[in-house]
Every structure is written in C-alpha cells, then in structure tokens.
C-alpha cells in the first residue's frame, strides 16, 4: 500500500518536472517573451492592481490616478481646472477653490505630485501638487481623493521646482522658475540682471489637518530654479534646487542662458532658516495671495486673501545657503534614498554629476569656497563632486531609485532609460523609450524606501505608438519590470494631458482608507436638507434658493412654479443615498455652468439664470437605477412681471 503511494507521488513529481522543462524552453522563444510580459501586466477581471500611480496631468490642470502594472486609469482628480464631469469649479461650493489674486483662474499646468511622508517613508495621507502657471500648491486628500486646499504663491512665476515635501511633511517646497521683480513693479525688462529675484517658498503643513501656511520665502538671486528635492536621512533639513540661467539673460534664453559651462545646485539648510524666522528673523512684506480651503463637512470651499509674507534675505542667514557648481544647465535634482548623493542632470550634456552630501559638509566646514554669487558662497566643484555617470546617452533629465542600490535616469534626447549603480557610477543597463522621455517614476522612488518593482517612463512624444487620432494625441508611457538585473519593457499605455512627474505607492497604503460615502448625518452644508420633508423653495428678492433632495429615483420637489425671468436660481441638491457608488447628477436646460455630480451624503449647488419664459425640465445625469430615466422634473418660468406664488411639490396632481 505504502509502496504504491511512493510510486504514484514520484510519477507526479516527474511529470511536474517535465512540465517545468517545457515552460522553461518556451520562454527562450520570442513569442513566449511577449507572453511573459503579458502575464506581468495582466490584472485579471475582478483583480486589483498592486500599486497606485498618480500622474500629473500637465496642461490638463488635473491629477490622474492609475493602477500598476495594468496601466488602467481609475480617476481624474480635478485640482486646478474646471471639471464639468463633477461640477468642480462650476458649482458654487468649488468656485472659491480656483480664486487667486488674479481673480478666478479656471486652469493651470500641474507638474509634480509628491505623497506625504513620515520618517522619509510614504504615509499615504495626502498628495501635494503644483500649479506652474499661476503659482499655486494644492493638497489632495488620499481618503476622499478630492482637492482640499489650494494656496497661491506670491512673488513667484512658473512655480516649477515644486511641490516637493520634506521627509516628515514639515514643508511643501515651491521654487520659482522665472525670476521676477519682487515686489512686482513697472520696470524695463532688460534691467533684469541683479534686480529680479527668485523666490523659494516654504509652506508648512499642519501635521494633523494638513493645512498649509506660507511660512517664509527666501529671495534668492534671479536665476531660474528648475527642480528640487529634499534631503533625507543624514541630509534631512536641507533642500536642493537645480538652477539654469545663472547668466541672468532676459531674451533668446535658449542661447543666452546656455553660455555658462556650469550652473548651480543651490543647497539650502532650511532648518537654519526656519530657526532664524522662528526667532523673529526675516522681513514682513505686503503682498496679496489667495488661500482656498475645502471643508469636507460643509462640502464648501472658502477663499481668503492673505496680505503679508515673511521674506528672508539669504545673506542674512549664515551657513544656510551654498551653491554647488553643476555642469550644463542641470534640470533634474534628485536625492538618493540614503540622502548622501545629490544627482544633477546636466540636460545639455551626456553625463550626470553626483554631489556628495558628506563632501559638501566637509567643504563648508573647511571654507573651501570658490568665490560667491550675490553673497552666497560657491563651493569648489572638485570638492563636492562624488562622481560622474558616463552614460553614453544624451540629455539626462530625471533620476529615481529602486532601493537596491540602483538609479534610473531618463534621457530625453537619446530617448532611453539608463540604469546605473549608485557608488560605482557604472551603467548596468539601458532601454529605449517611445519617445523622448521626460520624468520617470518608481513607487516611493523619491523616499527613503522605494518599492523597486516597476518604473514608469512618461514620454513627451507619441508618434506611432497607438492608432492615429489626428495631429493631437495623448502622450505615451511605458512600464518596465525592474525586478531583475535588466529592465524589461512590459507595457505601453496612453496618459492624459501631459504627465510630468508622478508619484506611486503600494495599493494597501490607500485602498482600505478610501472613503465610500459622505455621512448625511455629518453634512453641515448650510443649504443641506437631511430629510425630504425639509425640501422647500425660498425667495429673497430675485434670488431663489431651492433646497432639493435626491434618492433613487426622484428629486424632492420635482415640480416648481413661481420662478421668473431674471431670477438667480440656486439649486442646492443633497444626495440622500448612503450606499457606496450611488451618485446622482443634476442638470437643467440652459445651465451656463456644468452639471453637478453629487456623491451620497453630499450637497452641491448650481446657479441657473433662466432667460426665457417656459416650462423647463431638469434631470439626473448619472444612470442611478432602473428608474433613472424617470428621474426628472419641471420648473415653470414666468415673465418677470408675473405674480405667480412660489410653489413646489412631489407626487401631487
């Protein structure tokens, strides 16, 4: 009996071996390589992705959420741009979110997302993004995946070396790319040199609420502060900015700002500056900027104009500001997970320059300076440089890390990702991208603890990667498996807008915290109705407020009379559902804004200004139930002179 068992099990083992061999030999074939890539990215129906990826939407102004490795897009989060899909920027509640010192701005250019960190590791509470054009920083909740706060940055222009957070989310750092007169004034452009300033802003983050506060701005020389990254580990407390146009040219920049052989990486000891400011240092300057905060319970944003900012003259804070010469107009300025190496990507060269934090401290200690610029000491290149990656590529831009001692750098001109070893500076592998890659992202690749399984390369040029769609196409991105020694291209997917940087994290960090509904019993919106019996219509002069509720599948009320031409009619709609994924929509003929998409328990308001007499229908825009088509109603609009009383009803004849 026992013997036969052995024979049987050994037979199974032999057959398994045989199957194993077959699979092994298949893999060497070309077709099977493709199929193994397919297996790596295939997330079967009903299965979920391993990582979240937040890709900036560039000139779409919004942030997109993808899954890795599938490349499936889950959501577009409206941040700086009006978004008719949800009514963001159109609803009365969200219009204040887009307020600035220049008035209502319906758009921006969103570049660099960064997930909040604790002790240098991703903590998944918020994601911060920058608006490049009209300088702003936004905070997006990773519980509701909604924009909760937007703060405008005064004295800044081209808010590009932003939004990068320090390793305990003490600050969001936002640097100006364009130097401008500070404060702004009427002056000749060609008097730029020596007169314009580069403002670097330090925005503190409340550890509990996440609330932003522009704590101080450093008014640096008028270079262009291109990108930045925080120090971490030993270098925590420092922040590094790449610069170009140290020539301070103001015209034909592509030539005139490329003349110096070396520009700088600016190293700033922000802890020293913070201490200086906390002890009363700095100058209070009159200014004007908007601070917009969205309250999850009132479902309403409020905009406050701030009138003052603390500015810091860098020459007044000793031992806090240094310039590290870095060749060829450096773009990317990345810091490895240990915090020891600062990588400057000279975008007009073939090589990467790596500065050592330890060597920098030593050079500062021994005052090995090579002159100064506007009173800020310049360190000697040879004294701070730890190594050069002789890449063989051209046009290095950005570097991320896998946490296993390797770095991955994108090369725009030679269109490739190059893997190299931190320390030996040896190139290990290179793979083409399609085409002209800008940023790349490894989940956690900008933290002490990267999750080095995939790298996403975000390209600027698409050309023939997908079926053609006319002259304008979405940008392409590639996913590479980086778990082995060699990178493997496993997937190609289109992205939305123009992704610049991205941030990613393991799915489990966010998935279980993702909110399903808003609680109706926590709804503090001043125009909310928490029970259909409270639904009503009130007139105040020519303003009419309709307190309306929705539940599958009717509006309460759904017949309204007594509205007149010239009225400003506010539909305040509360969704009474408390069931996951049951939004209701609202739209009415002639609405000059957009529809509203109202989540369970939420209240949103749409302003409607009827211009014509008639009986005008409204309806639910979100297919909410089998009776969705019946979810409709009428508003009777009478002439301005009529004296029809306001009335409203549901289910009455």
């Amino acid at each position: 009996m026992k013997k036969s068992n052995y024979i049987f099990s050994s037979l199974i083992a032999v057959s398994l071996l045989f199957m194993g061999c077959q699979q092994g030999s298949d893999k060497s074939g070309n077709g099977a390589l493709a199929s193994s890539a397919a297996e790596k990215v295939y997330v079967a129906p009903g299965e979920q992705d391993e990582f979240y990826a937040f890709l900036s939407g560039g000139y779409s102004g919004n942030l997109t959420v993808y899954g890795l490795p599938s490349g499936r897009m889950f959501k577009e989060i409206p941040v700086f741009s009006q978004f008719p899909t949800s009514g963001y920027g159109y609803s009365e509640e969200t219009k204040p979110m887009l307020n600035t010192s220049h008035g209502f701005i319906p758009w921006d250019d969103l570049h660099h997302p960064d997930i909040s960190q604790t002790n240098g590791e991703l903590d998944g509470r918020w994601i911060f993004v920058n608006g490049n054009n009209t300088p702003r920083i936004a905070r997006v909740s990773l519980k509701t995946f909604e924009t909760e706060e937007i703060i405008e940055i005064p004295n800044s222009a081209g808010n590009h070396s932003s939004a990068f957070i320090t390793e305990n989310t003490e600050y969001v750092i936002a640097g100006t790319r364009f130097a401008v007169p500070v404060p702004q004034r009427d002056m000749p452009i060609n008097e730029y040199k020596g007169n314009f300033k580069g403002a670097l802003s330090f925005i503190s983050v409340d550890p509990e609420s996440g609330r932003l506060n522009l704590k101080f701005q450093v008014l640096m020389p008028g270079f262009n502060y291109d990108l930045s990254h925080p120090g971490r580990g030993a270098s925590h407390g420092w922040h590094f900015f790449s610069t170009y146009n140290t020539e301070e040219a103001n015209s034909l920049m592509e030539v005139n700002s490329s003349q110096n052989d070396k520009d700088f990486i600016a190293a700033i000891n922000w802890k020293k500056v913070e201490e200086y400011v906390n002890n009363g240092g700095g100058t209070k300057m009159a200014t004007n900027y908007a601070h917009n905060v969205y309250d999850e319970h009132t479902h309403t944003g409020t905009s406050t104009m701030k009138k003052e900012v603390v500015t810091v003259d860098p020459t007044k804070v000793p031992d806090a500001f240094f310039f590290l010469p870095t060749p060829k107009s450096p773009h990317g300025c990345d810091v490895d997970p240990t915090g020891e190496y600062i990588i400057g990507a000279g975008k007009l060269s073939a090589d990467l320059t790596i500065h050592s934090f330890t060597k920098m401290l030593d050079a500062i200690e021994n005052k090995k300076f090579d002159g100064e610029a506007y009173g800020i000491p310049i360190l000697k290149y040879e004294d701070v440089m730890a190594g050069v990656v002789k890449s063989g590529g051209l046009g290095p831009l950005h570097t991320e890390f896998d946490g296993k001692g390797n770095a991955y750098t994108t090369f725009f001109i030679s269109s490739e990702v190059v893997k190299w070893e931190v320390g030996s500076w040896e190139v290990i592998d290179r793979k083409p991208t399609y085409y002209s890659v800008g940023h790349l992202m490894i989940p956690g690749g900008n933290s002490r603890k990267p999750f080095g399984k995939y790298v996403v390369a975000m390209n600027k040029i698409t050309k023939d990667r997908y079926l053609p769609t006319g002259p304008e196409m979405e940008h392409s991105a590639q996913i590479y498996d980086i778990s082995g020694d060699k990178m493997q291209l496993i997937y190609d997917f289109p992205t939305h807008g123009e992704p610049h940087y991205a941030a990613g994290c393991p799915a489990e960090l966010l998935a279980s915290n993702s909110q399903k509904i808003y609680r109706l019993d926590e709804n503090k919106h001043p125009y909310a109705v928490t029970d259909p019996s409270e639904a009503r219509v009130e007139r105040n002069g020519n303003e009419v407020h309709i307190y309306m509720s929705t539940i599958r599948s009717h509006f309460t009320p759904d017949n309204i009379e007594g509205i007149k031409v010239g009225d400003k009619v506010y539909f305040h709609i509360t969704n009474h559902e408390q069931d996951f994924d049951v939004p209701h929509g609202f739209s009415i003929i002639g609405q000059n804004t957009s529809e509203l998409l109202i989540m369970p328990g939420q209240t949103k308001t749409s302003l409607w200004e009827p211009k014509q007499v008639g009986v005008w229908p409204f309806y639910c825009t979100d297919f909410c139930s089998a009776l969705h088509q019946e979810m409709q109603g009428y508003v009777r609009v009478s002439p301005a002179s009529s004296n029809i009383e306001l009335s409203w009803s549901l289910g009455e004849d």
Binding site: I517, I551, R552, E577, Q578, D579, F580, S625, A626, L627
Partner: protein, 198 residues
C-alpha cells in the same frame, strides 16, 4: 440546568437570525440581523438600502421595533424563561424538584420557539406578498401569478437579481446550546433517578 437557560441571555446581545442579500452590483452583500427586540443592518446603512431597493417592488419598509408587538414581547418572554429555568435549576440543585421539571422547561421553550418561528414566517409571508398595488415593478411568475418576495425561513433562494440566504445567527446557536444543556440535565436527572431507584 442552571447554566443552560443563561445561554439565552445571549439573545439580548446577538442576533437570532441573519438574512443576507447579495447581487452582482452588491459584491459586499446587504444584510439584516434579526434580534429579539428589532431588526438591524449588518452594516450601518443596510436597512436603509434594503428599503430603498424594496420600494421598487412595493414591499413595505422594514419594521421599526415599535411597529411590531413581537419586538417588545419577545424580550419579556425570554426573560421569564431564563428566570424560570434558573429557578428550576436551583430548586433541582436543592433537590426540591426532579428532572421532569427540566424536561418540562425544555418542552415549553421548544413550543415557544416553534411558535416564534411560525410568527416570524408569517411576518415574512406578509412582508414578501402584501405588496403595494402601485409598485414600480410588478413582476409575474411564468404561470402568470404575481411574483412574491418572501425571504426563506432557512436556507437560500434566488429572488430576481438577489441571492437571499437566511440562517440562524449567534443568538440562535447560543439558545440551541442552552436548550441542549437543559436536555442533558434532564437526561442526567433521569439516569440518576433510575440508578437511585434500582
């Protein structure tokens, strides 16, 4: 015998019965816990959401405790039965009553339980068949009779897009264990009385 009836105390804390409703668009099923003093959602908003769905087919909303006499009476009956059981147990311990009283309690409890089940089933028949004539969806069986929606008393049924499963819950299991203990007590008493007699 003393311990057995005390298991019934669990009915004040745990649901007696649980009905779960799962459907393709409800990967996390909706559910109701039937307690002796009312009906509660398995998740916070389940009752509201079940009522919301049921309104399409014209079912009444799920009863609140004050809308059914059962929910005020059952806790009293259970309380009395616990008191009675413990009293019989104590008296038995003091040898004032014999095992026949234990068995008597068990039989009375069983009868009450069956009556309770009968009442519960009658409510479900009413809930599932007494439909609003103006219901949004009036569906018919293949034979032309109006479709009804009585949940099963025990087990699983398919109702439109929903899989409905109805099973005893923690409270019922505790009651079952308690009642079995009283039965064991009666049997032990019976065996003891037999050995004493011989």
């Amino acid at each position: 015998m003393i311990v057995g009836p005390l298991f019934l105390l669990g009915l004040y804390f745990f649901p007696l019965w649980r009905i779960m409703l799962g459907a393709p668009q409800y990967p996390d099923p909706l559910g109701m816990n039937i307690h002796i003093n009312g009906i509660a959602g398995v998740n916070e908003f389940d009752i509201q959401n079940i009522d919301g769905l049921n309104h399409y087919i014209g079912m009444k909303t799920l009863p609140k405790p004050e809308e059914m006499w059962e929910f005020s009476t059952f806790p009293v009956i259970i309380g009395v039965m616990i008191g009675l059981g413990v009293l019989i147990g104590l008296l038995g311990y003091m040898k004032k009553v014999n095992h026949k009283w234990f068995l008597g309690w068990f039989i009375l409890m069983s009868v009450l339980g069956i009556l309770g089940m009968y009442d519960f089933n009658a409510w479900m028949v009413d809930y599932g068949t007494n439909l609003d004539p103006n219901a949004i969806m009036k569906l018919a069986n293949p034979d032309g009779t109006p479709m009804t929606y009585k949940p099963p008393l025990f087990g699983h049924t398919k109702m439109l897009n929903f899989d409905v499963t109805s099973l005893p819950a923690t409270g019922a299991w505790l009651m079952f264990v308690g009642m079995m203990l009283t039965l064991v007590a009666s049997w032990l008493g019976w065996r003891k009385s037999k050995t004493e007699r011989t």
